[in-house]
Subunit: 328 residues, 2 copies
C-alpha cells in the first residue's frame, strides 16, 4: 500500500485533483490518500499558506500529489520543494495528438535544479535606492542534478545531455556549473554525450531546432523559464506535468497554476494533473499501471471526442477523467 | 557630419561590417568612420580584449557600430554598454518576408535594461563549495528603462507596455521593478496601457500568442533570454538588429555573434548588421534615409533572389550588400 499525500490547493487545482484521484482509484493499486491544505484559501482560513501539518504529511508520504496554488504559489511550492529536499524538477516537453502543439514530434526532458540558484531568495534592501538578490550555485547541488540528468538519460535511452547556463557573464557561478557538467560527463563517456549552450541561445534553439534536444539540465530559474517555453511549443500548460524528486520523497504537480479565470467552471483540462500522476506511478515503479494509464490518455486524445475547451472540445474536467477511466 | 566609431570585432563581425559600411557610404549622408579594435584577435595582439583607445573612440563618437566578438564577447560588449552608460537595449522582433519566420506577422519591441541586474557580475567564491552572484535592481535604473519603454510606445503608436519580471519569487528586487512599472504607467494613463507577466509565463506566451505584444520592458538577463526567443520566432539571429541607447551615445549591433563555424566563408547574412545601421539612422534622426534603407532591404527580401544560405539562398555577404545598394 502506498501512502499518498494529496494537496489540491486553490482554484482549478481542486478540480483537476478530483478527476485525477478518481482515475488513480480505478487502477488496481492500493493507495491510501490523505488530504492536506495549502494555498490562498488555506491562508485565509488558517493564517498560513503552508501549515506545518501539511509539510509533515508530505514528508511522511510515499509520494505527494499537488494541484495548484494562487497568489501564494511561491510560498507553498518553493517551500515544499526545499523542505522535502526535492532537488530534481522533471519537466517533460512532449507533443500529444489533438492538442494545439506547434511541433508534433517533440519528446525531451528538462531537468531543473530545484533547491538553489536565485530561488534561495536571499534578498536584501540595501538602501532606499534598490535591492540585491543572491544567486547561489554550489558544487554539491550542481553535481547532484547533473548526475541525475545523465542517469535519467541512460535509463531512458537518451543519447545526449545538454547543459544550459550563462557562463560567459556569470563566470564564477555558472562557470562552476559548466565545469561540473563536463566532470560528470566523463563518468558517462561512451554512453551519453554532452554539449552545452548559453541560456539565451537555448531559448532560440528551442524554437529553431527543438528536435535536437533529448535531456536538458540547468539551474533553477533557467529551468523555470525554458520549461514554460517548452510548454508553448507543445500547445500550452494544459498538457504539462512535472515531478519534483528527492532522495526520500517526491511531489507531482501540473505546471499550470490555479487559473482563477476558469476556476469553478468545471472546464479545466485535467490531463496535466493526470500525467503527473502517471509520473508518480513511474516513481513508485508501478510501470505496468503507468503504461496502461499513458495508453488510456493517448486513446482519449487520439479519439479527440472528449476534450476540454483549451483543446478545442466541449467536455468538462469530470468527463475527461471518466473517458480516461473507460479507456483503461 | 557624423563621427561614427566602427568596431568590427571578430569572425563574421568583420564581414557583415564591411557590407554595412558600403551601404552607409552609398547614402547621401556625410559620415566620418573611425575604426577601433576589440575582441579575441585584439586580445591576442594587444593583450586586452577592449583597449582604452577603443572605449575613448566609442565615447567620443556620435554613434558606434559594433560587429561581433568571439569568446571575449562578454568582456567587450557588456563593458562597452556599462562604460558608455547605454541603459536601453532595443531588440525588435519583426517578421520579414522570405525568411524562415515561424510567424509572419510579428512586430514588437523588447526594451531590455542594459546596465544592472545580474550583469553587474559581482560574483564571489564564498567557499570551496560554491559561489554567489548578486542581482542588483535599483529604483533609478528601473524608472529610467520603464520610462524609456513608455516613451518609445508613445512615439511609435504602440498602445501597450508589458512589464516582465519574477516578482513572485524575487519579491524584493522584482517587487521593486513591478512597483516602478505601475508608478511610471500612471504618467501615461489614457495614452499607453500597462500589463505585467512573470518571465516564465512570458516565455510561453511569446509562442502561444506573440501577436499580443507591442512593447516588452524587462530586466537585463530576462531581456537577453526573451530576445533570443523572439529571434527564434522570426527565423533566427540573421535578421535581428539591436540598439544600445544612452543619454549621450549609442551603439548598434546585430544580436548574432562572431559565428566561428561560418567565419571567413563570406556567406554571413549582413541583414542584421545593416538593420542595426538603420536603427542608427533613426537615432541620428535621419528618418528619410532610414526609410529608404528599410525599403531597399524589404525589396531585396521580397524579390528573394539575393539571399544568403541561412535564408535558403546562395548569395555572398557582399552580394547582399550590393543588392541593397542597387535597391536604394
Ligand atoms: C509558482 C512559481 C513559484 C513556480 C516557480 O517559479 O518555480 C512555477 O512557475 C513553477 O514553474 O513551478
Ligand atoms: C555576448 C553576451 C554577453 C551578450 C549578452 O548576454 O548580453 C549577448 O548574448 C547579447 O544578447 O548581446
Amino acid at each position: 500500500m502506498y501512502n499518498i499525500a494529496v494537496i489540491p490547493g486553490d482554484g482549478i487545482g481542486k478540480e483537476v485533483m478530483k478527476a485525477c484521484i478518481n482515475v488513480l482509484k480505478s487502477l488496481d493499486i492500493d493507495f491510501n490518500f490523505t488530504y492536506g491544505e495549502a494555498g490562498d484559501e488555506c491562508l485565509l482560513e488558517n493564517g498560513e499558506a503552508l501549515p506545518d501539518t501539511t509539510i509533515e504529511l508530505a514528508k511522511n508520504a510515499d509520494a505527494c500529489l499537488f494541484g495548484a496554488a494562487g497568489e501564494t504559489a511561491a510560498d507553498v511550492i518553493v517551500r515544499l520543494r526545499q523542505e522535502l529536499n526535492l532537488f530534481a524538477n522533471l519537466r517533460p516537453v512532449k507533443s500529444y495528438p489533438n492538442t494545439n502543439a506547434l511541433f508534433n514530434n517533440l519528446d525531451f526532458m528538462i531537468v531543473r535544479e530545484n533547491t538553489e540558484g536565485i530561488y534561495v531568495a536571499k534578498e536584501e534592501e540595501y538602501t532606499e535606492e534598490g535591492a540585491i538578490a543572491r544567486r547561489i550555485i554550489t558544487k554539491k547541488a550542481s553535481k547532484r542534478i547533473i548526475d541525475y540528468a545523465f542517469q535519467f538519460a541512460k535509463n531512458n535511452n537518451k543519447s545526449k545531455v545538454t547543459g544550459v547556463h550563462k557562463a560567459n557573464v556569470l563566470k564564477v557561478t555558472d562557470g562552476l556549473f559548466k565545469e561540473v557538467l563536463y566532470e560528470v560527463a566523463k563518468d558517462y563517456e561512451g554512453e551519453v554525450e554532452v554539449e552545452d549552450f548559453y541560456v539565451d541561445a537555448t531559448a532560440m534553439y528551442l524554437i529553431t531546432r527543438p528536435e535536437s534536444f533529448e535531456v536538458i539540465v540547468t539551474t533553477n530559474l533557467f529551468g523555470d523559464i525554458l520549461s514554460d517555453e517548452g510548454a508553448g511549443l507543445v500547445g500550452g500548460l494544459g498538457m504539462i506535468p512535472s515531478g519534483n524528486i528527492g532522495e526520500d520523497g517526491a511531489l507531482f504537480e501540473p505546471v499550470h497554476g490555479s487559473a482563477p479565470d476558469i476556476a469553478g467552471k468545471g472546464i479545466a483540462n485535467p490531463m496535466a494533473m493526470i500525467l503527473s500522476a502517471s509520473m508518480m506511478l513511474n516513481y513508485l515503479e508501478e510501470y505496468e499501471a503507468e503504461e496502461n494509464l499513458n495508453n488510456a490518455i493517448l486513446t482519449v486524445l487520439n479519439e479527440g471526442k472528449v476534450l476540454t475547451p483549451d483543446l478545442g472540445g466541449t467536455a468538462t474536467t469530470t468527463e475527461v477523467g471518466e473517458a480516461i477511466i473507460s479507456a483503461l
